[in-house]
Amino acid sequence: MRQDVVKTYKDVHSWVGIVSGMFLFIAFFAGALTMFREPLTRWATPPSTQFSAPVPLERVEELIAAVAITHPKAADSYTIQLEPGPEMPARLYWNEGQRREPKLMGANLAPDGTLEVHPVQESKLGYLADELHRRVGLPLPNSVALPITGIVSMLYFVALVSGLIILLPSLVKDLFAVRVGQNLKRMWLDVHNVLGLFSLPFHLMIALTAIVFAVHDQIYDAQDKLIYQDRIEERWEDHEHPPAPDKATPLLSVTALLAELKRQAPGFTPVTLAYSREEEDHGGHMGLRVAGHDDRFGHRSGEVGYVGVDSTTGLMNETEMMPGFQKAAEATVTSFFTLHFGSFGGLPVRWGYFLMGIAGTFIFYTGNLLWIESRRKRERRNSGPVEQSRQTYALAALTVGVTLGSVIGVGFSIAAAKLLPGRVADVESWHIGIYYGFFVAAVVWAFGRGAARAGGELLLAAAVAFLAIPLVTLLAPGAWSHPGPTRLVDGLALAAALTLFYLARLARKRSISGQPGSVWSKSGPKKLVSL
């Protein structure tokens, strides 16, 4: 390839990388956590003492009848939970509030037949990790943050293609080489390349789907104006609606319905049954949407796929999002979602996506390192004695502050999950406040101390943050620990803490013994801004 092409695309790669890299670090770190959104939510939700053991499915009709008398709003729209757990302790749920201000209520029958009705609130921790992921770390409303996520994702896509273009000429020579040695820049470049190239299909797919998730409304709007002649709403209705049952026909019992569903789709494990009465002009019958999973196929959401079922016969009537029952085009659209969410193939894929997410953060981190290291070299060639520019120090401080700041913030915010409930009124805001408090403090710290000192210190803080997670579970008064796989949250946090302690030691060593004049050496200029 022509040298000028490689040079041009090197510049493109550097600049789109440096603009988007820190956003992407946070998005990947938080995104890796969302792979375990369900265990995280369960881990963080206080045990419920309000409900008896979930009433057997044979008695659900009794429960519905009892709730309908005391809470008429529940009668026309309710969800049956087939796999209750600590975060969803009741059998039946409905929204007693408004659409925009939901107030989730749970109901259950005690063994003696007494109706139990209480408001329920699962922990928002998993949801907040997802919000942080979707907004690339920005504390802004979706209307502002999501377009920025779209731009960051597009820069990310350009970074991937441009990275491939500049790697192609030396591909064979560089591919399997990770040259560990005196030349640190060479080593970081090799690591950056090997990670980037081998996970390229994953990253291309994540980048393109992320653009869609961020700005699909704007794309549909443009298509509405330019292609659908302002009639996109009508075009959405261009499909056959399943025949509606007569609204007078009685509902099939839940146990019979589940048996009928099992007969039609043996591999599908239903999780919730969402009943909701249709408007009168749609027949006024009880609609039913079943959510569940079948690990042999992809799922439309992060955890489940959906199927519309006739509530009077138990027959599937809407399989557009039903794993294993989709037409080719429907399965194609679902594959875009499921490839981003890692919601196929069960637990092994989830772990794989978790590791890919963490590996992704290294690509962005090493990318920033390379930017810093190559600018350093250039300066040396021009001006003899090594005196790093203000920008290089600033970028080094920003890199250390933002990446470790988000790790520290997430660590302490998770650790707070078992301390906040019952002690503060608005748990969600506290989680957000703790995250951004530590994040901003870390960035300020990094600029005040310089990257070399702050690197080791912030790594130590991050280790402490993650160590706090299992410590709170073990020691804090009032903390709880649900049996089962959620204990892995504490185990993973401990492993993260140990890794971070080790990295902190390495960083400290380098700041003492590293090359003088490096931004990572304490012998460089001490401060960027004085605190």
Binding site: T8, V158, Q223, I227, F336
Partner: protein, 97 residues
């Protein structure tokens, strides 16, 4: 002698890709919408696929636009591509309605 590529004139190329590239991507999705299987009223699944293809084409233009020798060439070629694609979409629309 061919002119050497440089990244100095990135802004004009990037702007062309952001604007004309988007328009071109929507135009290509229009080809699919009007002339793909099922035609204009192909239903919601086809409409979703139509939306999903926009970032792909737009992203390719944004990535490869720096191969154009100059911003002027980028604007010119992307403008021409838009004329062709939108000519087919709008012309086809008129013939079919």
């Amino acid at each position: 002698m061919t002119q050497l590529l440089t990244s100095r004139d990135w802004f004009g190329k990037a702007l062309a890709a952001a604007t004309l590239g988007f328009l071109l991507a929507v135009g290509i999705s229009g080809l699919w919408t009007w002339f793909g299987p099922g035609g204009f009223r192909g239903g919601p699944v086809k409409m979703q696929i139509s939306m999903w293809m926009v970032p792909l084409w737009w992203g390719l233009v944004c990535s490869l636009v720096f191969f154009f020798p100059s911003p002027r060439a980028a604007w010119g070629w992307l403008g021409l591509a838009n004329l062709v694609v939108w000519g087919i979409v709008l012309g086809g629309q008129r013939m079919m309605s």
